[in-house]
Symmetry: D2
Subunit: 354 residues, 4 copies
Amino acid sequence: MRWILSATMKALIKSGPRPGLTLVEKPIPELTADGVRVQVMATSICGTDLHIYNWDAWAASKVTTPLTVGHEFCGEVLEVGPKVTRFQPGDFVAAESHVFCDKCRPCRTGQRHICENEKIIGVQRDGAFAEQIVMPERCVWRTPSTLPPEIATLQEPLGNSVHVALADEVSRRHVLITGCGPTGLFAVAIAKTCGAASVTAVDVQDYRLSLAKQLGADHMLDPMKCDLVTKVQELTDGRGADVVLEMSGNDKAIEDGLRCLSRGGDYRFFGVPSDRISIDVARDIIFKGARVQGILGRKVWDTWHDTARLLEAGLDLSPIITHKLPIEEYETAFDLIQRGECGKIILYPGGVPQ
Amino acid sequence: MRWILSATMKALIKSGPRPGLTLVEKPIPELTADGVRVQVMATSICGTDLHIYNWDAWAASKVTTPLTVGHEFCGEVLEVGPKVTRFQPGDFVAAESHVFCDKCRPCRTGQRHICENEKIIGVQRDGAFAEQIVMPERCVWRTPSTLPPEIATLQEPLGNSVHVALADEVSRRHVLITGCGPTGLFAVAIAKTCGAASVTAVDVQDYRLSLAKQLGADHMLDPMKCDLVTKVQELTDGRGADVVLEMSGNDKAIEDGLRCLSRGGDYRFFGVPSDRISIDVARDIIFKGARVQGILGRKVWDTWHDTARLLEAGLDLSPIITHKLPIEEYETAFDLIQRGECGKIILYPGGVPQ
Amino acid sequence: MRWILSATMKALIKSGPRPGLTLVEKPIPELTADGVRVQVMATSICGTDLHIYNWDAWAASKVTTPLTVGHEFCGEVLEVGPKVTRFQPGDFVAAESHVFCDKCRPCRTGQRHICENEKIIGVQRDGAFAEQIVMPERCVWRTPSTLPPEIATLQEPLGNSVHVALADEVSRRHVLITGCGPTGLFAVAIAKTCGAASVTAVDVQDYRLSLAKQLGADHMLDPMKCDLVTKVQELTDGRGADVVLEMSGNDKAIEDGLRCLSRGGDYRFFGVPSDRISIDVARDIIFKGARVQGILGRKVWDTWHDTARLLEAGLDLSPIITHKLPIEEYETAFDLIQRGECGKIILYPGGVPQ
Amino acid sequence: MRWILSATMKALIKSGPRPGLTLVEKPIPELTADGVRVQVMATSICGTDLHIYNWDAWAASKVTTPLTVGHEFCGEVLEVGPKVTRFQPGDFVAAESHVFCDKCRPCRTGQRHICENEKIIGVQRDGAFAEQIVMPERCVWRTPSTLPPEIATLQEPLGNSVHVALADEVSRRHVLITGCGPTGLFAVAIAKTCGAASVTAVDVQDYRLSLAKQLGADHMLDPMKCDLVTKVQELTDGRGADVVLEMSGNDKAIEDGLRCLSRGGDYRFFGVPSDRISIDVARDIIFKGARVQGILGRKVWDTWHDTARLLEAGLDLSPIITHKLPIEEYETAFDLIQRGECGKIILYPGGVPQ
């Protein structure tokens, strides 16, 4: 394949402080000294993108317009800046979307995922729902050319789930996953692959629970249709879930999950709540002797290696990819996500490959 | 010393569902097959005892009257039941106050502190503010006779603080301790002994902060008199506390402590809140990549060994023991605690030794 | 099924300090106060039994004759001593073969597998290759009646492999297993189930490598037929194995495995060498920043729970069970093991079930 | 102070493949694009330098002559290359002596201390026993100007000991340190500061044991004058040392240390043996359930931060600095080290400050 270099490109942008997005033709981004120019081959849509699309309070507080949105992508390197040493045109790459500084203390001690100065592409700097993006070399991840673009773009969100699911052991443990959006679904697949004693998926949408089943969940529970705590007790010899992965950000799901946690259990927050959360700290944390972790982003580059390993070992994500659309059909895509009638949607700036 | 065996004994009891305690003469407890009868040499008063004294909502929900109260003690073995193999009359002992079952799954996997069937002496079964107590052999802890009784009785509460402070590394970390009651004060001493980069003690009472200073705290802060978050940032190169030990159960202290926690920090709940707590999970747990643990009781027997080691290595608790009283003066004692004008009070059922 | 109580029983014993075993009729063991009498339904043979059969130097130093041998078994409870509280006739059980004291410091701090006073059945006290055995209640493990006896007896050796394989993460790691006797084969199955990036099995016998393949090994290597270090480098992007499980006790395998270990790798010794081992500590441990662990026995009862969970989750051991024989054919069994032409052999004191 | 820029400088070099060093005048090193030119204010001598001085087999295999030796230093930044962003003239700095590549997998996953491409200054590239050195910016460590140069230069070797001593908990553990050269002595001080239950220092030289005592060791043992294993058992309630830090590289010390290790103990190799080591793996690693780690260098930058914190918290190294000499007296210095009649020797390229 040969990419035609041009002065302008298609890009999906937030043009001003209001709902919706606009597909525009805009100048290609300028190459920086440490920059890697990537022709975007596939992108994918995240829940964060929906917040920006809807222009909710969080989005309004974070995003300055105009901005090219999107942060999950893969593509081919077109050209590199003069300081770049590890990449060259033709390389197939994805990228860490949290642009870390590599200078603060967390960055310098193996904790780039909690960089004190991070800027997320598609949120705080121009993103990837476009024909081209320029990324600093330090954030670019070499991807085997054998990986199809629709999987390669998923390394970023899959990495979130890897980070959550493997933050501590899941093998031989009863795992409860609250929230079956894409990151929850990825977590189902990872926990099963890594030897969980059982995986119980929780969501309020049948569509999502049926995807969880396809990905290997042992039990699918809708908390509106059962007494979740009682049900989980039954499935775990009365002890509760050893590990709870909170992938929804929903306050009811958090309360349910904490109540389902076993004594000595391990609770991991990933879904970001929009408000403060009321927690029965005495009952659910102290008297259980529970461990609770907040997880964000991906460990750079540990999680990326882990993710690559799981993909090599045959982790099958195909049931999660429910739609492939050209970037022009972005409104259809956001509408599907809005209604919860999809898994992961792949958007192609250059058209859906045949 | 020779103890006179008698059919009755002095005991401090909660006689009915109302505030206050009563000193009575009651029959000595019956010896069980696996029981160890102990002549109580010294006891000490805990915050839990104050809840029971005051008969607050928590106490009313847990305690069935009549009940001999108190759970911190040491003493000499008087006689042992026929199944007892490890103790004999004359041994100097203390005891794990959380009577664990040794049959449930946590008990059988090294986690007796989260036993599913525990009964706490002085709360759910007769306690130690008495001349005698009978404990199941499995809960009795042999104590070196070189340890003075007023220190030996403190092994139980000190064990709580050891469990909290050493649940993970404190060495070379900036440690913030919210709440300077006795367990908070013990934690100050332990963190200093174990190489904390700095220990900052937080309380609203000058008396307690001055005790924290005597125990080695580097900084003493009253959150009513300073902007705690700003102050802690200043003391930690702008990064916040690496470790926060929450020893108060107070909602304001919890909010302050979570805000003071550094990225990647380690927060440990020990003080039991009386209500649900509202937490900014996104800001304080997820985006910080924080770890949060609930800690209760002592690991049996790991924590007891750790505690013994720290005492052998010279941990000095003397500034915390502010009062020694005969059991008859229990009302003076509870009044001092009520007013926060004491560290730890030692009560002697047999009179204060000369 | 009803068991006929009789005064004597069949037992396979080491009658004196010389090679071989003898099948005898001897009095049934006496019931102790804390004892559980078990009718043995199935037993299985371990490499340790072969050492005793052959009467090598190790056996001569450990075993006092006469002794009933065998330590892997399952069966039905026939009667219990007066102090027993958790078992009753009819229960289906297996047992921890390392009779721990529950009084020493390791036992009392969650480390019973390194008990200071342990006696192993079939080695230091009468064992399980017999119609009956009496075990102390504290060592008896309740087993679901749905587990077939030939699997139930394997919980003990499988537990060894669980302890080794899951001592730290195997998921998304390249795992090398040196030695494909039964514990090595179990480890292959466990590592695959728990998400290893790849499992490479090493042995010098084709028979065993073919069993490893059946259990899911990705690569089977005979170090006599290839340059192991070079080959492992090829299979791991030139980095070496992240985890090495040493299941052979063989000095050449140890040297090979240490050389195959990656920088920052994790090496676990389980197979017991008969002699001192010469190690290039500088090259293989220090400059690699390697972690090395010695693993023995099973964590009691953590590992037993883990083992049960893996069996419930569907771990399939059937390819490892290559022979089922009545106890009378023990010489055939030991001959097969001697020649390495078997996986695990099940011996039935009461005859092979139809 | 003002440094005079000149075209040449004093440097202590290995001029050819033979014992000894030569003090020469040579051109100052060229500045690189990412380089930081440092005026060396103080340097210190390491055991590695003695190997190079003596030109033993290890040195002959690693070092290509001519080479400026020395790898421990501190100094003031004189000028910086065009790509340097974090330093400027006048900054007070030290440096990580293991020049890591920041491109290999360990470097990119928080494990720079096991970089696959490292070059050590003074061993594989020009070092610090000179008036100037140019270091890549990524290896330079900003040092508070309040730290005296003789302490600032010790951050590198102290970092080794911090890495070893704090690789896992030492608090409330009995710690045995085999080898009381400078890194062993640093480890004594660190273990005491971080709450070890006891620190036992082992060496064959009285001079070094007396330094260990000054640094706080509780027990000083010469294995030529006592039965070390028996003695350590006595000091640890018959259980052995919980943690052994091997700082000598000596085969006899390794054997002794492994035998002194408790069940479940933690053994850390740091001293590099010159030959293969014969280990009783069965007795000392497997049956003890021991953990063994190889430790090298410093975690970059975690260990440097830890080291800084310990120095801020008041770790007192002054007893270890036994000599301060001008670089011209290097032969005196190496002679003292050869004879073991010193702790750490500080060499000053610009003369000993008054």
